[in-house]
């Protein structure tokens, strides 16, 4: 039981103390089965409908095929993973097991000691709880609910049941089915009609208090004319030994509402990240995905807007950066189902030192989407000969009087640009870095300031030493 000792030690030495009263260790055996699904539901003391839902989803998961597109997932063996670890027992690492590269990045980003432990999966919480509770107090006064999803189900069962599984049904794809069967954690947000939040809701503080899950399930309901900006995670690298992550995000934006969802996923490079994110956008409502993909080994993520009401608007601005063995298969989907809907996709991809980055996107305009407009702009920068990129756009227009613009560029960094910057004293590496940062600027400018700064810093660190 060496591991448990490590765990206990790291908790003892944790300067803010370990506050969870429940010390019972709940960790299911590896592999997935009906028993495992039942056990998860039992431990969480869930209502019967949720157990039944999980079992249905599990059945679908078993029957559904693997995706017929995208990166090679043939090495994925579902029996290799643990599907539930009680949050208080999430500490499965010791500091000495955390890869050196991750530790170095923490150091160079200047991340405080306590936060490092958390991000490396060595501690389960750190001192941001106070921030979280203050933020909570501020929004609760306006009737906003901001909880982890398990608490959401417990505290608001009716509201939860009304919207859960309505945007991303469990049969949607194999990984959505898997998530539906074994989900834990994630955010549950409800913004009442007319409530506009000025400050973003940041899961960073919530997850720091509650620990991020492997199969997160996020449900966001934005009321009529309401406005919310949700920021998921943080940009610092997150190390996890559990290497399969399959999250589902469901968002409903009611008439005239607006939601912005910003995230920069930066999982450590042992992670398979397979995520289904979708928003249903009602009349005159708008959805904005700001989606960064920097980490993980293999990433499949295509945030989607279903533009279901007249004049609904959808936007996705994303970056994907792939290096070494990484495969970033990312993009966006815009489904126009109603008249006069509009969408905008801006995708910036960078591949370097042997990375592979693909843009995979869909714009679909239904017959009913008369007078709709869509614009797709995907640009790729390939930094060296070992790196590759594919662009796989699907554009399908059934509607009359609809406009779809598609622009795509693939480029290398030009010698002329490098020469220009170097003739002012910048080294080749600095010049390359500056051009790359400029290239992804349309994304970074959309991020909250501190995230943008952190992301720039992070990419700079990552590029140092990798350019000759």
């Amino acid at each position: 039981m060496k591991k448990e000792n490590d765990v206990l030690q790291s908790q003892d030495s944790y300067q803010y103390g370990f506050a969870d009263e429940d010390v019972s260790v709940v960790r299911l055996d590896k592999g997935i089965s009906e028993e495992v699904v039942r056990e998860i539901s039992r431990i969480k003391e869930e209502p019967k409908w949720m157990l039944e839902f999980r079992l249905k989803a599990y059945k679908a998961f078993k029957e559904m095929p693997m995706p017929a597109f995208g990166p090679d997932l043939s090495s994925l063996n579902f029996d290799d993973y643990t599907y539930y670890i009680k949050p208080s027992d999430k500490v499965t690492n010791s500091w000495s097991e955390v890869p050196e590269s991750i530790k170095n990045t923490f150091d160079r980003l200047g991340i405080p000691e306590s936060e490092k432990d958390f991000l490396a999966g060595v501690a389960t919480q750190y001192d941001s709880e106070a921030v979280y509770h203050n933020m909570l107090k501020e929004v609760e006064d306006k009737g906003v609910i901001f909880l982890d999803t398990d608490s959401g189900l417990r505290q608001y069962p009716e509201l939860f049941q009304q919207y859960f599984n309505t945007i991303v049904p469990y049969q949607d794809n194999k990984f959505a089915a898997l998530n539906s069967a074994v989900w834990s954690g994630g955010s549950f947000i409800y913004v009442p009609d007319g409530v506009k939040l000025e400050k973003p809701l940041q899961s960073y503080f919530r997850i720091n208090a509650q620990r991020m899950g492997q199969f997160e399930r996020t449900l966001i309901i934005v009321g009529k004319g309401a406005d919310v900006h949700y920021v998921e995670g943080c940009t610092a690298p997150i190390y996890s030994k559990d290497s399969l992550h399959a999250a589902v995000v469901e968002i409903l934006i009611q008439e005239g509402g607006r939601c912005r969802y910003s995230t920069v996923q930066n999982w450590s490079d042992n992670i398979l990240n397979l995520v289904t994110k979708r928003a249903r956008v009602q009349t005159k409502a708008s959805m904005e995905w700001i989606d960064g993909n920097v980490g993980s080994l293999t990433n499949m993520k295509y945030p989607c807007c279903v533009l279901a009401g007249e004049y609904a608007r959808g936007m996705c601005i994303s970056i994907a950066v792939a290096a070494r063995r990484q495969v970033q298969d990312a993009g966006a989907k815009m489904i126009h189902l109603a008249p006069h809907t509009s969408s905008n996709i801006i995708s910036k991809s960078v591949s370097r030192v042997g990375g592979k980055v693909n843009y995979r996107g869909l714009v679909y305009m239904d017959q009913k989407a008369v007078g709709s407009r869509a614009k797709v702009e995907c640009d790729t920068l390939i930094l060296d000969h070992q790196s590759t990129s594919d662009t796989v756009p699907v554009n399908s227009v059934m509607a009359k009087e609809a406009t779809l613009e598609h622009e795509a560029t693939v480029s290398k960094i030009s010698e002329e640009e490098l020469f220009y910057l170097m003739s002012r004293g910048l080294s080749r590496a600095q010049a390359t870095e500056m051009i790359v940062m400029g290239f992804i600027q349309p994304f970074t400018r959309e991020l909250p300031m501190e995230y943008a700064v952190e992301l720039n810093q992070l990419l700079k660190l990552d590029m140092e030493g990798s350019i000759g």
Partner: protein, 269 residues
């Protein structure tokens, strides 16, 4: 006192030899005009001195204060005090002028420049070049007019204070008023830093504002004539033909071009 010495420089672009043995010495405080018909190697010489990777030095050498810089990287040359004001400056999207200039200034300093002195220097230079205040926040040369790009080149020269500035048709695209502004900014750096200037321009009015101490005429990859300001004046008044004839130089490239166009011209008749 610094010295930039070019000795017997031969430069090739892909398979074509452009410079066929150019020698030239430029000292601090001197202003050299490099003249000659189009397509005869003036820009090539400037780019080769700066170390552009497209131009291969096949013979000869470049010395900065008697140290060969022929094999130095472009950024090394810049940090040693060379500056090239380009004919067509690159547009770098997403990178603000301020970020770029700060990085360029810091590249030649041990301690990074503090924010306040940087902003002050940037504002002063912006004003000197008659540019708009939002310059710092605009992306590097992106969407700039031809004239703005040229002003921005000289703004960089003002901030980077080179020992030797190579200016490649920096006056083209500038109207009369802008030309005065740019010239006076160049002369300010020249006086304050006592730097050396190597200027390529086709226009006498620029040489009236920034008066050369030496004039070289480059044709067919070699320097065919040298003199003082009066040589520039003569060329401005009479063109290159007489000079080329005097020195027995035929411009091959022009003739090749003419032959190529020949068929087209005939068919039109």
């Amino acid at each position: 006192m610094s010295r930039l010495t070019i000795t017997d420089l031969h430069v090739r672009v892909e398979d074509k030899e452009i410079l066929k043995g150019v020698s030239l010495t430029l000292k601090s405080g001197e202003i050299h005009a490099l003249m000659g018909p189009n397509g005869n190697g003036k820009s090539t010489l400037l780019a080769a001195i700066m170390g552009h990777p497209r131009y291969t030095v096949t013979q000869g050498d470049i010395f900065l204060d008697d140290v060969s810089i022929k094999d130095w990287s472009v950024d090394q040359r810049s940090k040693a005090g060379l500056f090239l004001g380009m004919q067509t400056p690159q547009e770098i999207s997403g990178v603000t002028n301020a970020d770029f200039l700060k990085a360029a200034i810091n590249a030649r300093r041990e301690q990074p420049i503090a924010l306040f002195p940087f902003i002050k220097a940037m504002e002063a230079a912006t004003k000197k070049l008659g540019m708009k205040e939002d310059l710092a926040h605009r992306f590097l040369n992106e969407g700039f007019s031809g004239g703005e790009k040229k002003r921005n080149e000289i703004l960089q020269m003002v901030l980077l204070k080179p020992k030797f500035a190579l200016l490649d048709e920096i006056d083209s695209g500038l109207d009369v008023d802008a030309l005065k502004v740019v010239s006076s900014a160049i002369l300010d750096v020249y006086k304050e830093e006592s730097c050396g200037l190597l200027i390529v321009s086709h226009y006498g009015r620029f040489y009236d504002l920034v008066t050369p101490t030496h004039v070289h005429v480059l044709a067919e990859g070699v320097i065919i004539a040298e003199g003082d300001k009066s040589l520039a004046d003569q060329i401005d008044a009479k063109g290159y033909d007489l000079l080329l004839k005097q020195h027995g130089v035929e411009i091959k490239k022009e003739r090749e071009k003419a032959q190529l166009l020949g068929t087209c011209a005939r068919s039109k008749k």
